[in-house]
């Protein structure tokens, strides 16, 4: 939750930031983009409509000319196009640090990082404010939303310096964070959702009820989906589970069924809550996943407006 203004001068971090920057900008510039309208009204130069005054409205927005003519208090409303606040919640638990022995794409954490960076860049490019929260069992780093272009560097630094560790406690984190999040805006949750928690749906419902537009990016390594391992293997947990030695052949089908059940659970749960759910395997090119999502958003946005 630090709001550092100075960055570490660690060359590795810097190079990681640079590469993230390049990746994200390339991605976004290549895709983009149009633009992305907020459905919230805000202060802007662009008039939207009048509204009857009600106590609590800012007096400065009363259109005195209309009062003069009609003796009724009307408040001017403007199209709010730049005051979108997006918060990206990135899971940095141990499970996100999975590295395949037989890599078929990016590492899961790198994939998530790049995705987050690209989304941040995208928001900032549209002058929207974007913030980043990194969490495992707790929120370990919170960067509040800002719309300054330089804010991108903060986000990149946050991404570059984090290491996946700890256990996923999504329910606790959402419960803690929900009060601090802006009541409106977008919440993007990037995680592998490999958690034993069962109340995630409740928490998502809570977010939605707060007026937040929630988008879930469910990222998994292809290994985690197809479980392609052979031979006697002792699986050591990246989180807090005990290690288990087995022949993957024995449980492959069961495991695949389990993981598909989980994916299906999130997919149906999100559909029910009006949450955008995007499932991405790290073998899927990021731009493909991202563009698919943006196209979907666009069509959804149009339908909403």
């Amino acid at each position: 939750m630090s709001d550092k203004t100075t960055f570490d001068s660690d060359p590795e971090v810097l190079s990681r930031i640079a590469s993230l920057n390049i990746c994200a900008t390339n991605l976004v510039e290549g895709l983009l983009s149009g633009h992305h309208r907020s459905r919230h009204k805000g202060s802007s130069v662009e008039f939207a409509e009048y509204k009857d005054y009600s106590p609590g409205d800012e007096i400065k927005h009363i259109d005195w000319k209309v009062v003069g003519k009609t003796d009724k208090y009307h408040v001017k409303q403007f199209e709010q196009s730049t005051n979108l606040k997006a918060t990206i919640l990135l899971d940095t638990s141990g499970s996100m640090g999975y590295e395949s022995p037989d890599p078929r794409g990016m590492k899961k954490m790198d994939y998530a990082r790049t995705l987050v960076a690209a989304l941040s860049y995208l928001f900032l490019k549209q002058y929207d404010a974007v913030g980043l929260s990194l969490f495992n069992e707790n929120v370990i780093n919170h960067i509040p939303p800002r719309s300054k272009p330089a804010h991108f560097q903060h986000i990149l630094h946050g991404l570059a310096t984090m290491t996946p560790t700890g256990v996923t406690r999504l329910e606790d984190v959402i419960g803690n964070l929900v009060e601090r999040l802006p009541s409106r805006g977008i919440l993007i949750l990037v995680s592998d959702f490999l958690t034993k928690e069962t109340e995630v749906e409740q928490k998502l419902k809570l977010l939605v009820s707060r007026g937040l537009e929630v988008i879930l990016f469910h990222i998994l390594d292809p290994d985690e989906v197809s479980f392609p391992f052979e031979g006697d293997i002792v699986f050591e947990s990246l989180e807090d589970d005990p290690q288990v030695g087995l022949d993957p052949e024995d449980i492959r089908e069961t495991y695949k069924r389990e993981i598909q059940n989980q994916i299906q659970y999130y997919r149906s749960c999100c559909a029910g809550l009006g949450i955008d759910y995007v499932f991405l395997e790290t073998s899927t090119p990021l731009e493909q996943g991202l563009s698919y999502y943006l196209l979907r958003r666009k069509s959804l946005g149009k339908s909403r407006t």
Binding site: P101, E224, S237, P242, E258
Partner: protein
């Protein structure tokens, strides 16, 4: 409590456990460690998976190793016992005598090997297990018992002596062997002394006459009985063969009668194959049913084509003891019936001699016509004659015999010779009644004479079925009615001998009495054979009548000379001249030279049953007792057969009580077969092989089930 192994060599099979271990190590997949994100899902899947009970490979390996170990242990014949080691083979310095029963009954097969081989293996095993200060000795128990190996500490000596040995063809004589053993043990200085008898406990071998316990010393005796290993059993034995030649019919038929014993105490034998082999070729074959504990006879007959020596054998189908399934015989068919006519009333005028008519009737023209070759002898010459050179002895009006000669005559008859006695005025009835009671079936009572001009005694003429008389028919028979008998002896039968009366007088007095004594026949004609008491000898019927009686009674007895020898009995024969040398070809083909002494050829090493061929050659041959082959110029000079004594074949075993009576006061321990456990003690142990086998089987089943489940 101890666990011993009878076949410890199989314990090397435990090394076989390395095979599954090697396979396990070679096929073991390298266990990898992998850091994985969704381990909780794996655990969940593992719980839900049907295959979650995958057997532990190490557990499988353990079961496989255990299976192999159990197999190896089971093959090693483990014996488990709660008791401690016994005193069977003392560890302290001791003197041990092994009495090895090498009689032919030990040749009985059990487990592909003979009892004898089992016994030798046991003996060698025990001799090797003796402590280094112990001495041992080996005594043979087949008669005559002898010390095979004197005191020794070197176990290899017994191995050299016995490893390739075979059981002898002799019978058991345990008594003599024990006597030899005690003599040996008396001379031993060791404190501990043991006797081990390795035998099949044939009852006939325990001959009390050959052994008597003397002295106070008593030695512990261990009797190891191998007869418990019997599988098929010794079913039958050829006990006896007898060859006869039929002279009465002109076909010259040879009859071989054989007697087969059923040795089983419980089972009758059905359709036992019996075959007759003559000069190496199967001549005849048949089957025989023999009731339990009994014997049956089978007779083979075949025509004799030429007068060559017959070397034959009777065989029965194989059982577990092969030696008693064959019996050898040899037979020299007779060209003529040699007949010794003893004239008890010789006269200087030839035709007045008692045997004048008889001699001419027996051999009217030449030998080839009648096949009877009479030799007339006076009583004085009798002692120079060997009765066994003849088939028929005719005593014609003989007063009495030289002292002791009646015993020779008895022996001759018992062995199959024919004795034809005719009476007359010279006959001393007292002598005949008192001295020849064993072969003569009647007592001579009194001479009956007709009065002057009285009616003579006449033969009662009627058709007879007697083999001799049945050819006399019609006119011939009528002619016999005219024979006039003036004098004759009346006789009364003895109680103990069976007799038949083929011819009698009209006054019911017997005229001719036929009886059997031993294998031979005795025929008594109650009148004289010359013209003194009747006119029969000048009647035309006399010639065929007397010839037929001689042929009927004779059985081709040249071969009686060559009496049936048993293994170990010496063969002896008179050698006509010193200028020739006799050779014997043994059944194995080896040629040897028998010893010659006082005009007798004697051969004592009749150790193998079979036909021994005799050859005669010049005496200039080398003097080596054993020859590689017959010297040139030798000619066959007959043969003789040697057979085993079938008393050894008997399946009757001596009981523990009988042994204890035989060896009173001895500390006797009985062992049913030799097993290594006896060496190591724990003789009362229980064999664990089956248990281990079952355990191994269940291990394999369990392993199979686990693998299948996997």
């Amino acid at each position: 409590m101890s666990l011993n192994f009878l076949s410890p060599l199989y314990l090397f099979g435990l090394l076989g456990m390395t095979i599954p271990i090697m396979v396990h190590l070679l096929t073991r997949r390298q266990q990898k460690h992998l850091r994985f994100s969704a381990v909780h899902l794996l655990l969940q899947s593992q719980k839900r998976s049907i295959k979650r009970s995958t057997p532990n490979r190490r557990f499988l390996l353990f079961i496989r190793c255990l299976g192999i170990a159990l197999l190896s242990l089971a093959l090693a014949n483990p014996i488990f016992s709660f008791s401690g080691p016994s005193d069977f083979l003392p560890n302290s310095p001791s003197a041990n005598v092994f009495i090895l029963d090498d009689s032919y009954s030990m040749g009985t097969l059990a487990d592909q090997k003979s009892y004898y081989t089992h016994a030798v293996d046991a003996l060698l095993d025990m001799s090797q297990s003796l402590s280094s200060e112990s001495v041992y000795s080996v005594v043979s128990a087949s008669g005559p018992a002898r010390v095979l190996l004197d005191w020794s500490t070197d176990s290899s000596k017994a191995e050299k002596l016995l490893k390739l040995s075979q059981p002898s063809s002799r019978t058991t004589d345990i008594g003599q062997a024990i006597a030899e053993t005690f003599r040996l043990l008396d001379s031993a200085s060791q404190k501990k002394k043991r006797v081990y008898i390795l035998t099949d406990r044939d009852k006939n071998g325990w001959n009390e006459e050959s052994f008597s316990l003397t002295g106070e010393t008593r030695y512990p005796i261990n009797i190891i009985d191998f007869s418990g290993m019997r599988q098929g059993g010794n079913r039958a034995a050829v006990e006896h063969t007898e060859v006869r030649q039929e002279f009465l019919s002109n076909s010259r038929v040879i009859r071989v009668k054989t007697k087969i014993l059923n040795l089983s105490q419980t089972k009758p034998i059905r359709k036992l194959k019996v075959s007759l082999w003559i000069n190496g070729k199967k001549q005849n074959e048949g089957t025989l049913d023999i009731p339990t504990k009994s014997s049956a006879e089978k007779e083979f007959s075949f025509p004799l084509k030429e007068n060559v020596a017959l070397n034959g054998e009777v065989r029965i189908e194989d059982d577990s003891l092969l030696k008693d399934n064959v019996r050898f015989f040899n037979y020299q068919p007779n060209r003529t019936i040699k007949t010794l006519v003893v004239d008890g009333d010789p006269k200087t005028i030839e035709h007045q001699s008692e045997t004048f008519y008889l001699e001419r009737a027996l051999n009217p023209f030449s030998v080839s016509l009648s096949n009877i070759e009479p030799t007339v002898s006076t009583l004085a010459e009798l002692s120079t004659r060997d009765l066994f050179d003849y088939s028929v002895i005719m005593l014609c009006n003989v007063r009495d015999l030289p002292f002791g000669y009646e015993q020779e005559l008895e022996k001759f008859v018992m062995r199959g010779g024919a004795l034809f006695i005719t009476l007359g005025d010279q006959v001393d009835a007292k002598f005949y009644n008192e001295r020849m009671g064993n072969i003569l079936s009647v007592r001579l009572q009194a001479i009956h004479q007709i009065a002057k001009d009285g009616e003579p005694f006449r033969l009662l003429i009627k058709p007879s079925k007697h083999p001799v008389l049945k050819v006399l028919k019609g006119r011939t028979l009528e002619e016999m009615k005219s024979i006039r008998f003036h004098s004759l002896y009346s006789v009364e039968p003895r109680e103990n001998l069976k007799l038949t009366v083929p011819m009698s007088f009209e006054n019911k007095f017997p005229a001719l009495i036929e009886s059997t004594a031993g294998k031979g026949k005795v025929i008594l004609f109650v009148s004289s054979i010359d013209r003194d008491w009747n006119n029969f000898s000048i009647q035309p019927t006399f010639l065929p009548w007397i010839q037929r009686w001689v042929k009927y009674s004779a059985r081709g007895l040249d071969s009686l000379m060559l009496k049936e020898l048993l293994v170990g009995e010496p063969f002896s024969r008179e050698e006509p001249s010193e200028s020739s040398q006799t050779y014997i070809v043994l059944p194995g083909g080896k040629t040897t030279r028998p010893s010659f002494e006082n005009g007798q050829v004697t051969f004592e090493s009749t150790n193998r049953p079979g036909i021994y061929q005799l050859y005669r050659g010049s005496s200039k041959a080398d003097t080596n007792a054993t020859l590689l082959q017959l010297p040139p110029g030798t000619e066959p000079a007959g043969s003789f057969s040697v057979n085993i004594d079938t008393t050894e074949s008997s399946s009757i075993k001596i009981t523990n009580e009988e042994i204890e009576n035989f060896l009173p006061g001895m500390d006797i321990t009985y062992f049913d077969g030799y097993q290594k456990r006896d060496l190591n003690g724990s003789e009362g142990g229980s064999p664990m092989s089956t248990a281990f086998m079952l355990l191994m089987g269940s291990m394999l089943l369990f392993e199979g089930w686990l693998v299948r489940k996997e």
